[in-house]
């Protein structure tokens, strides 16, 4: 993807986000596998008029169509994952960072924890 195309895509994502939440913003909407459709306007899992690549379309009878589209797999992160270097560095917090420049060196002190969660009210 060219840099220009990437910028346009990013701008579209930002516009979408300012309008409201959406999986479409992540480019994930509209990619579903076989859909048995019992009424033509009803596309199971597929937005009407979407431009996802249709792999196949089979008409079973007058009312039932099977539409097969490409489903993208979960993608790895662009930057990968690296082990943090040993040792502690400054923690950047929202309160500190509003007027602060990015941290000058790799930090080892985590700013967040990933783990299982118990939902709270």
């Amino acid at each position: 993807m060219s840099q220009q195309a990437r910028k346009e895509q990013e701008a579209a994502v930002v516009r979408r986000l300012t309008a409201g939440a959406g999986a479409a913003a992540l480019g994930l909407a509209g990619y579903f596998t076989a859909a048995a459709v019992t009424a033509v306007p009803v596309a199971l899992g597929a937005p009407a008029g979407s431009d996802q690549p249709v792999v196949g379309m089979e008409q079973i009878d007058d009312h039932v169509f099977v539409r097969t589209v490409h489903v993208p797999a979960p993608r790895p992160p662009a930057g990968g994952v690296r082990a943090a270097p040993a040792g502690a560095g400054p923690t950047t917090t929202i309160a500190q960072s509003v007027a602060a420049a990015p941290a000058p060196a790799p930090t080892a002190r985590p700013v967040a924890t990933t783990g299982g969660s118990v939902p709270r009210k």
Binding site: A23, A29, T33, P72, V98, V111
Partner: protein, 297 residues
């Protein structure tokens, strides 16, 4: 939420507002425990078409994508199975143990039974089918919150953590965002454990350890195996995955718990960096997960 870069004095409150508004929208649309949510209305519809707002439609898009991309391992039609297993109210209101009940376990109806008509803004579930969007809605919200907070604050980079589902947007700090990998997201970031750096996308952990309850003395947890309708009984108690978005990371992590022994190969095939913790505490890595600093190769 963590911001980097210059965003001006209004940046922080603007970011916070953006995140809070988004989370309120997602809760109103997707909570299984709110009588007035769009999802609750859909689950009560008994086979009728139900109008759905854009947030629920997007959350369903995400849930159906996750189901398709994981071969059905992460399936939103587990709602009834979760309720039957005893997860029938907000987790904080669940008792530690409930009465012994006769459970009739059966495979969940399956995500392909969900009819989604985006053009008309409506959804239909077969009678008796109930959705739970727990495996995807929070992660999707984290992705959207990170992007929204960045837009609202004009920060260079943003990290948002929603109960351990982590999404980043924009420019990371030099070296990347340092994140502690734990089994419980309540572990303070400065706690003991493995620390990794991510620059883009998301990081998520699915665990059978933290959301547990009992029915008739039988331990239950919230990750349902769609093939059986019962809590997954695989070799992993916790799986952490990094991916291009938090949604993708959480879908893969939950799928790994359900897929069990085949999960490392499944993650390797997709080059998804993952850390899997077995029931006995043994750590297995896949997809290029880094070796901790200082550990010999």
């Amino acid at each position: 939420m963590v911001l980097t870069g210059r965003s001006g004095p209004a940046g922080r409150p603007a970011a916070r507002r953006a995140v809070e508004e988004l989370l309120a929208q997602v809760d109103r649309a997707c909570s299984r425990f709110r009588e007035d949510s769009d999802l609750s209305a859909l689950n009560r519809a008994d086979g009728r078409w139900t109008a759905a707002g854009p947030v629920l439609l997007d959350a369903l898009d995400a849930a159906l994508w996750a189901a398709a991309a994981t071969g059905g391992a992460v399936d939103p039609t587990v709602g009834r199975a979760l309720r039957v297993a005893g997860y029938d109210r907000d987790f904080g209101a669940l008792g530690a143990d409930g009465a012994l009940v006769a459970l009739r376990l059966e495979p969940v109806p399956g995500w392909v039974t969900v009819e989604l008509d985006r053009r008309r803004g409506r959804v239909r579930l077969a009678a008796g089918v109930e959705l739970d969007l727990g495996a995807t809605a929070k992660a999707l919200a984290a992705d959207l919150a990170a992007a929204g907070a960045r837009t609202a604050s004009a920060a260079a980079g943003v990290l948002v953590s929603l109960g351990g589902d982590i999404a980043v947007s924009g420019r990371p700090p030099a070296g990347g965002w340092p994140v502690l990998v734990a089994e419980d997201c309540d572990e303070p970031p400065e706690g003991e454990g493995e620390v990794v750096l991510i620059a883009t996308g998301g990081l998520a952990t699915s665990s059978t350890r933290v959301r547990r309850w009992a029915r008739g003395g039988l331990e239950q947890h919230h990750i349902i195996d769609p093939a059986t309708g019962a809590p997954a009984r695989g070799p992993w108690r916790s799986v952490t995955v990094a991916a291009a978005s938090c949604l993708e990371a959480n879908a893969a992590a939950t799928a790994a718990i359900v897929k069990g022994a085949e999960a490392p190969a499944w993650l390797d095939e997709r080059a998804l960096p993952a850390r899997l913790v077995a029931e006995d505490g043994t750590v297995v890595t896949a997809g290029g997960w880094p070796r901790p600093a200082g550990m010999p190769a």
